[in-house]
Symmetry: C2
Subunit: 243 residues, 2 copies
């Protein structure tokens, strides 16, 4: 399993992904699920993936091959919408090649992606791309996307993320959301990739690898847990059940 | 969809269920999912259900029929383990009658249950019963079960419920867990059934129907939301992202 979240804010984009992959409980591995495509000053794109690792890795290889080839690539598409289309097109190529063979083994064509970034001439944009290669775009009403094991970490995002949330607050929220997910789902785990893009900078502002001994994440996990318990105990209990 | 949670505590049992059913977004209805079987002073059992409503209703009717018939019933089985077996047996009767016909329409035999209570001569016990009629029992390590849309409301339970949690605190936790679920999943909704059993009482201690204008639930929802936001803002943001 996987958990990735991308947030589109006025101040920029925050992306967080875990790195655990599993094919059954005895095939647990660490693979980076967040990839950056950058031409500083002109464009910066980040792609996060969930699903079948063979499929998502194949897509990443295809996208990288295209960078060096004739025709559209993530380094040449004119805007983020065309970047999402390009990812969708490449994904459909993977589907055309592999889906039937997988089906014979009863394996679903399971892959989803979050693509975010900024290309010179437009604002930052964020897309969620489905296995069929179609996609949706984040808006001010729904300024974030999650892929993979999304449910445990969704409530805190719904409660605090707004378009005007600051980047550091959004990163904190993403880490708390990840903490809730890691606690509840063994197949999501550190190290994490936390990437921040600032609106207008057209380059990566910060890319942090967070492992088990990261002091900030450790502090957040403990204090958030303590805060929740304190908040819980501070609320009155139903009086009709008093002893 | 559905959300039900049952908690086994030293002081007794807390059960909470929603009442929304849906068959597509334009068939939303309200059905009680929590049923009590009680012979005050001798036994009290509570059964909560999730899954296909036609199947779970059929099971409830079968269980009620058995109360008046010869042979085992929830009023005569000697202990909770045999009660769980009886529910499993009746569920297998439903499966034998209906599963094949449903399969022809591509409908899965989808039903799960939480059975809790106390029968004179033993401590309170709590079971989760699967569609196949097999079941597991709660222990001090895992003192609660959830059925239906379990993920959104799981983190708070994991954080606060222990066997020595008081009944009113556990009820508060169940309601907060339900609140997180209702906020995230449209197919879970009020009114709620909150049922509390006290160890040794062998009758229902409290059965409360909580609807949209219940003052306590409304207060809990607002104050929990405020507390989470306050706790979030009180935590330091990652300093490596400061502007």
């Amino acid at each position: 399993m996987t958990y990735c979240v991308g947030m589109l804010l006025d101040a920029g984009i925050v992306c967080l992904s875990d790195s655990r992959t599993n094919a059954g409980v005895d095939h647990i591995n660490t693979f980076r699920k967040l990839t950056v495509f950058e031409r500083p000053g002109e464009r910066v794109l980040v792609l996060m993936s969930a699903g079948n690792l063979a499929l998502t890795q194949t897509l990443m290889s295809l996208l990288r091959e295209r960078l060096a080839a004739e025709g559209p690539s993530l380094h040449t598409v004119p805007n983020l919408f065309e970047a999402a289309r390009h990812v969708g097109d490449c994904l459909r190529e993977v589907h055309a090649r592999d889906a039937e063979a997988l089906k014979e083994f009863g394996i679903e064509f399971n892959a989803s992606f979050i693509l975010g970034g900024q290309i010179l001439g437009e604002e930052p944009r964020l897309f969620q791309i489905y296995a069929a290669g179609n996609f949706i775009e984040a808006t001010r009403d729904t300024p974030y996307f999650q892929i993979g094991e999304a449910k445990y970490g969704k409530p805190i995002i719904d409660r605090v993320i707004r378009p005007d949330t600051a980047l550091d607050e959004a990163a904190k929220c993403a880490l708390i959301s990840m903490d809730s997910t890691i606690r509840s789902n063994l197949s999501v785990g550190v190290p994490l990739d936390l990437l921040v893009l600032r609106t207008g900078a057209l380059k990566v502002a910060s890319h942090t690898r967070i492992d088990a001994d990261n002091a900030y994440f450790d502090m957040i996990r403990k204090r958030w847990s303590d805060s929740l318990r304190e908040a819980f105990h501070a609320l009155p209990s139903p009086d009709w059940l008093a002893d």
